[in-house]
């Protein structure tokens, strides 16, 4: 019977279903645990504590600045990788994604070595301008930019590669040079990809911990971002850590919701 044959073909093997269910549970359970332990009664009061607000404000400010920096530097880099064939392009593309797989702590150490007072760039900045980067808000932004930029570059390069380059040819036939074509045709057409990359990068910057604490330290109001605050609160005030975590979780959910059409819904 055809109907029965189809029915059998569609049955999901237990050997796949069981690990899949456990995997899903494993992903969701910690979030449930977080929600279960949240001190809902004192939540509004907890949220308005100056320490929380300061960390939140700093996090949002630095993550936004880092995202802008990613856009200014990352979009041109993505364009170069997507549009201009040059020797070693594959190598550059691979290097760009290094921060993606590099442990953030290692990134922090590396940044410290370059921008530290005796570092490659740091010593020059110190001698020429008297600027010290490490353990400042600037260091937070740099650490976040370092870890977030690959996300943006990958998203924008993907969008650029997916975009029909014949529109750029059409622009050229109308007298537009490469720069005008980029600003007036290419960029508007990949705007959704740039936006998605920026949101993704912002989320990554907001959650940045390892590189930040290594390179920028932990000074409330200056370098103590939300994730750093969570980590420290864990040792002294568990409830505070839970509340801070909940805020970060809420932000993640909002980001996920805003990107659901692009990233979550499968084709």
């Amino acid at each position: 019977m055809p109907a029965r044959r189809i029915g059998r073909a569609r049955r999901v093997p237990v050997a796949l279903l069981l690990p899949a269910a456990i995997g899903l549970l494993f992903l969701l359970l910690p979030l449930v645990g977080l929600l279960a332990r949240t001190p809902w009664a004192t939540l509004p009061q907890r949220l308005t504590e100056p320490g929380v607000l300061t960390a939140l404000r700093l996090s949002v400010q630095t993550a936004t600045l880092a995202t802008l920096l990613c856009l200014v530097l990352g979009v041109p880099l993505a364009w170069l990788l997507a549009r201009v064939p040059f020797p070693g392009r594959r190598l550059v593309r691979a290097l760009v994604t290094v921060p993606l797989v590099l442990p953030p702590v290692v990134g922090g150490v590396a940044l410290l070595l370059v921008f530290g007072r005796r570092g490659l760039v740091g010593s020059w900045l110190d001698e020429t301008f008297g600027i010290t980067v490490p353990f400042s808000t600037t260091a937070v932004v740099l650490a976040q930019t370092f870890v977030a930029m690959p996300f943006l570059i990958i998203a924008v390069e993907g969008a650029l590669r997916g975009a029909d380059t014949r529109y750029e040819e059409a622009a050229a036939t109308l007298g537009a040079g490469r720069w005008v074509t980029f600003t007036h045709v290419t960029l508007p057409m990949v705007a959704p990809g740039v936006a998605a990359g920026a949101v993704l990068g912002w989320a990554r910057a907001l959650g940045e911990f390892g590189a930040t604490i290594t390179f920028a330290g932990n000074y409330p109001g200056r370098t103590q971002t939300m994730p750093v605050a969570v980590y420290l609160a864990l040792e002294t005030d568990l409830e505070a850590a839970i509340v801070l975590s909940l805020v970060l979780l809420a932000v993640s959910v909002v980001i996920l919701a805003s990107l659901r059409d692009r990233w979550v819904s499968a084709p």
Binding site: D164, E169, A172, L174, G175, A176
Partner: protein, 361 residues
């Protein structure tokens, strides 16, 4: 004849070689016609500066745009050209008006002036009401006219159109073709139309250049080409049966030995052409008159306008047009043997040995 465009396009591309001499006079519309892969798009891209020449030259309005021998190369954005792309490539994020204003803006007009000029072009295309619409809100015919307006708004010395009607449905194509004809006639510069649709070429162009495998196989006005095709491809385009053979008086011996009787006297290599409508089919061997007759087998039957087009094999391949009534009367089905008859007076013979080395297999 003055030449606005004077080019010899030579492009080598991985085993394929385009070698195309091309001239277009001011106000003239030339159609570049050919099958897929003949090099039409390559030629258009070379003219637009989207693909460099390997050799030859490209001179437009007295100025060299591409001459590899002298290391001269003018990039696309500095060429006085306008291109209507096959699927128009209207910028999806800009309104129809801003699409048309894009070119003039790049050519030094300020935003206000560019929009004014764009509005003028849209008005000319009868699209004033659609000016604020985004490309996705336009119908196929409207998008085509916006694309044409956008290309013409930069007042190009050379207008290039790549299959301008291919993306339209049959009904829209008819109207759009007529409008396009009007606008092309008004364009003072040179126009090159790339198409594989013979009807577009015949209606829109003053002169046809037919290319196959990167080379010109036939060139001329519509009348000559429709009457005297010189390759199998052109014959199929204009809907004629075409053979090549050696004429002695009224007899033409084809390469495979079959002999056709023609109306006029000829000597030497000739083409023989006749319309499918001139081919009569009979259940038995017909008699009398100076006719060509031979036995054949039906290999295919297709609708062709109001008639049926019958493909036949035999000593020579031939297509015949019959009315559905006649087909029913003769009980024509594939595989059926019939007799083919063509009156000598219905054939047209013309010398094969001219400029081109075209051959019919």
């Amino acid at each position: 004849m003055t030449r606005l465009l004077d080019a010899h396009l030579v492009v080598d591309r991985g085993g394929f070689r385009l070698d195309l001499p091309l001239t277009v006079a001011p106000g003239e519309v030339v159609a570049l016609l050919g099958p897929n892969g003949a090099g039409k798009t390559t030629a258009l891209r070379a003219l637009a500066g989207l693909h460099p020449l390997c050799a030859g030259h490209l001179t437009l309005a007295g100025r060299d745009l591409d001459r590899p021998g002298h290391r001269i190369w003018v990039p696309t954005e500095r060429r006085p050209i306008g291109v209507v792309f096959q699927d128009y490539l209207l910028f999806p994020h800009l309104s129809a008006l801003d699409n048309v204003a894009f070119g003039p803006r790049r050519h030094g007009l300020d935003r206000q002036q560019a929009r004014q000029r764009a509005a003028g072009w849209l008005a000319r295309m009868g699209l004033t009401e659609q000016a604020r619409r985004k490309p996705r809100e336009l119908s196929g015919g409207q998008a085509q006219r916006v694309a044409l307006a956008r290309a013409l708004a930069v007042e190009p010395a050379l207008l290039l159109l790549d299959e301008p009607l291919a993306a339209l449905d049959a009904r829209t194509r008819l109207d759009t073709r007529a409008q396009l004809h009007k606008h092309l006639a008004a364009h003072p510069g040179a126009t090159l139309l790339v198409t594989h649709d013979p009807l577009d070429a015949l209606v829109l162009a003053d002169r046809l250049v037919i290319i196959e495998d990167g080379r010109v196989v036939q060139e001329g006005d519509a009348t000559t080409i429709t009457a005297e095709p010189r390759t199998e491809y052109v014959a199929r385009l204009v809907g004629l049966n075409l053979y090549r053979g050696h004429a002695t008086g009224h007899r033409v011996r084809l390469a495979d030995g079959h002999v056709l009787t023609i109306g006029d006297r000829h000597d030497g290599e000739v083409f023989v052409a006749f319309a499918p409508a001139a081919v009569a089919l009979h259940p038995h061997r017909p008699d009398g008159s100076p006719r060509n007759t031979w036995p054949a087998t039906i290999t295919g039957i297709q609708r062709h306008g109001d008639n049926l087009r019958i493909q036949l094999t035999g000593p020579i391949e031939v297509a015949a047009d019959v009315t559905p009534a006649a087909a029913a009367h003769l009980e024509l089905v594939p595989g059926q043997p019939v007799w083919v008859a063509v009156k000598a007076t219905e054939t047209r013979a013309y010398p094969a040995a001219t400029a081109t080395d075209a051959t019919v297999d």
